[in-house]
Symmetry: C2
Subunit: 77 residues, 2 copies
């Protein structure tokens, strides 16, 4: 089975990478870019029968820093 | 309007970050992790009326390296 984990910074946490992307887009002439937030996408190829609870544990222990980041798990197929 | 851009490495491109995550998960005792691929998630807050073509141009010019990366655009709301 496959799963995707989306890791995003919590609102209120400064995101210098996102700001750099925003300024670069403006510098390239793209108008109307109000805000950019950068996050991570982690695609997992797991053995069949891996439970959502296991994936949740992976997120809490390694994939996301829950002090400053939120995560969302999406099972694929 | 908001849009999400998912940037992933093309298959066949080596992903040392994904491999490091895989080995770390195994080291933490999580079994059955066959493969991990690391990608990027970029959340854009754009002016109303920004076209999909504009977002596609942003991806090709800045957000993704189309030699080694694929991207997918998802409009939100």
């Amino acid at each position: 089975m496959k799963a995707r984990v989306f890791v995003t910074l919590k609102s209120g946490v400064l995101d210098p990478q996102g700001k750099a992307i925003q300024h670069a887009l403006e510098g390239l002439g793209f108008g109307g870019v109000n805000d950019v937030r950068a996050g991570k996408l982690i695609e997992l190829d797991l053995a069949e029968g891996t439970s959502e609870a296991d994936i949740d544990a992976m997120c809490r222990k390694l994939l996301a820093n829950t002090v400053i980041e939120n995560y969302r798990i999406e099972a694929v197929g």
